[in-house]
C-alpha cells in the first residue's frame, strides 16, 4: 500500500508491504526488508538480521504515537485513497496557525490584541489548569488574526484560543 506519513513536520511517501512474517518498505530511496512479529496488539518487533527493534504503536490525537529505543515519535498517516485523510493533509499547509488549548482549563488573561505583530515565543493567552498558570505562546512570528477567548472562559482541550497569520 502507498501512504503518506508526517513525522517531525516532514512529509514522506512510503510504500509498505506486509506478507506473512516479512515487511518490505520503501521511503524515498531507502529500502527496508525486515522480519516482523507482533507479540501483542500494538507491539511490532522488527528483526533486521540479528538486530532487534521493538516499536510500540498507540493511537493519539488523530495520529499515532510510536515508542522506539526510548524515544517517542508522533506520526500522522495520510491515506491518499481516503478523502478525510486528504483534508488533514491540507490543514497542515495553509498559512494560519491556530493556538489551541492543550488541555481543559480556564482563561485567566489575554496578553495581546488582535492585529498585533508578534515574535515567535510571544505569550498570547494565560490559561490556568491543574492549579498552574501557563502562558500559551505563539509557535511562530506573525500577526494575531484573532483572539477567540476572553478572561473567565472555560476551554476544552483542542479549543482554538487564537489564530496567528
Amino acid at each position: 500500500m502507498k501512504l503518506k506519513a508526517v513525522i517531525d513536520d516532514r512529509e514522506e511517501e512510503l510504500t509498505v508491504q506486509v506478507d506473512g512474517g516479512r515487511v518490505t518498505a520503501e521511503i524515498g530511496d531507502r529500502v527496508y526488508d525486515l522480519e516482523l512479529r507482533e507479540p501483542e496488539p500494538g507491539s511490532y518487533l522488527f528483526f533486521r538480521d540479528a538486530e532487534v527493534l521493538q516499536c510500540r504503536v498507540d493511537k493519539a490525537d488523530g495520529g499515532f504515537e510510536v515508542n522506539l529505543r526510548g524515544r517517542k515519535y508522533a506520526v500522522t498517516i495520510i491515506d491518499p485513497k481516503r478523502l478525510r485523510g486528504g483534508q488533514d493533509a491540507d490543514r497542515h499547509h495553509h498559512g494560519l496557525t491556530e493556538i489551541t488549548a492543550p488541555m481543559p482549563g480556564k482563561v485567566v488573561r489575554v496578553l495581546i490584541e488582535a492585529g498585533a505583530s508578534i515574535e515567535k515565543g510571544s505569550g498570547i493567552v494565560v490559561v490556568e489548569a491543574m492549579k498552574m498558570q501557563n502562558k500559551m505562546k505563539s509557535p511562530r512570528a506573525g500577526v494575531v488574526a484573532a483572539i477567540t477567548v476572553k478572561p473567565g472562559d472555560t476551554v476544552n482541550a483542542g479549543d482554538v484560543l487564537a489564530v496567528v497569520e
Partner: protein
Amino acid sequence: MFRKVLIANRGEIAVRLIRGCHELGITAVAIYSEADAESLHVRVADEAVCVGPAASTQSYLNIEAIINAAKSIAAEAIHPGYGFLAENADFARAVTAAGLKFIGPSAEAMELMGSKTSARRVAVESGVPIVPGTVDALNSFEEARKTAEEFGYPVMLKAAAGGGGKGMRLVTSSDELRSAFETAQTEAGAAFGDSALYLEKAIERPRHIEIQVFGDKHGNVVHLGERECSIQRRHQKVIEECPSPINDPELRRRMGEAAVKIGQTVNYTGAGTVEFLLSDATHEFYFLEMNTRLQVEHPVTELVTGLDLVREQFRVAAGERLSFTQDDVRWVGHAIECRIYAEDPSNNFFPSPGTITYLREPAGPGIRVDSGVANLSEVSIHYDPMIAKLAVWARTRDEAIERLRRALDEYQVSGITTTLPFFREVALDEEFVAGKLDTGFIARFNERRKVIEPPQEQLDLAMIAAAIDYSRHQQPVFVQGGNQIADGRWKMAGRQAGLRTWRKS
C-alpha cells in the same frame, strides 16, 4: 500496632502507604473521589470509601467526609500522605478530636512550622541561620516594593502558607515586581486559601539541600542525612539524590545537627524535613522551611539508609520508640529519583492529562518504581500530574547514573506526554554527571540543550510501524463514505476479503 489505618490520599503515595500497612499486617483503607473509583490506590487497598466528587475540595480535602469515613469503617488512625491535608493543623486536630490517631506531628508543631514566618522565628531561636527576609507577612504591594529595594534585587516572593512552589516568584528587577506580586497572591489564595506573601533576598546559584529528621514521643530526634533537590522547575523538585554530590560528611553533620535542633525546639514527632539553601561557593547554609510530613522524595533516603520511613511513622504514631539511634544511621551508596510527571517538557512542562494506553515500568537490579498508575489509567486534570517516581540505587553516583539511563530507556508510557525524555537528556548531561547542581540547573540546561536528531532509520521504522498499525485497524475502502455498519456474516466476510485485498495493494 494499629489494626486498621485510613490513608487520606491518592496516587503513588497512597499505594506506598498501603504497602507499608501490609508489611505490618495493618488493614489499609483507601479513600477515593468519584473520579478515582478504578484508581490503582483503590485496587491495592483492603477496603475503600468514596468521600465525594472529583474536585479535591469536595473529596480529598473534605475533612468532615474523611473523618466520617474513618469512623464508619472503624479505623484507628489516619495517614495523610503528602499534599492535600498533610500539613493542615485543623485536620490533625479534628482527627484527634474524633478519637483517632493522626500519623504525623502534633497540630502545634505543624502550625509553628507551617507558617513560613513563624518557622523562621523558630530557626532563629534554635540558632540556625536564615536567609535575610521579612519576618512577618507583607501588608501591601508598597511594603513589598520598599523591602525589595532595601534587600536589593533579586528577591523571592513566597506564600506565607505555602509549599510545593505554588505562589512563589523570583523577581530580578523592580519593574517585574507588581505583576509577580499579583500572580503570586492569586496562586497563593487559590492553592492555600490564604494570599499572604513574604519576601526574601534570593541567594544566587544556591543548592537546595534538605535534611530528613525523625522524632518519637520519647524525646528522641535524629537525622537521616541530606537529600540534594536542586533540580527544580517552577520551584518544584524533579530530580532528588541522596547523598548530595558534595558528599561531605562534616557538612552533613553540621546541617544534621541544625535540623535536629529545630526538631527539638518544636518537640517534633514523626517524619519531617528541614530544607536549606546552601551557597555552593562558601558551603554556608540557610534555613528555608520545614515540611511537617513525609516527603515525595523519601525513597532516596530509604535506599541509602536501608530504613523504612513509613514503618517508622506507624511505630511513632502508635507510641513506640524509633527503632534506631543516631549512631545506627549509615549511608551506603547513592540513590537518584526522577519524578515522572504527565507534563510536556518541550512545552514549558505543561500538564498533559489523558489515558495511559500502554505502560511498561523498568525493573531489575537497584530499581524502585513508586507508581500511582496502571495500564489504561486515566490521568485526570483534577489532581497533581505526578504519576510515578523512578528511584535507582548503586554503589557510587556514576554507577547510579548508568543505572538510571538504563531504567529510563526501559520505561514506556504511551497515550500521555511525560517528563521521561527530559530525564533521558539530563542523565547524559555533562553538568549533571559532574554533579554541578543548583536551582538554576534547568534554565541553563534548556539553553545549552542540543536537540539530538534521531537517526533517519529510527524515523523510518516509526513510520513503518505506524503504517502497519494503520492497516491493522483500517476499515476496508468500500465502506468508506457512508456510516453503514456491517452486520451479518455475509457483510463481515465481504469486509474481511476486502481487507485482505487491500493490504496487499
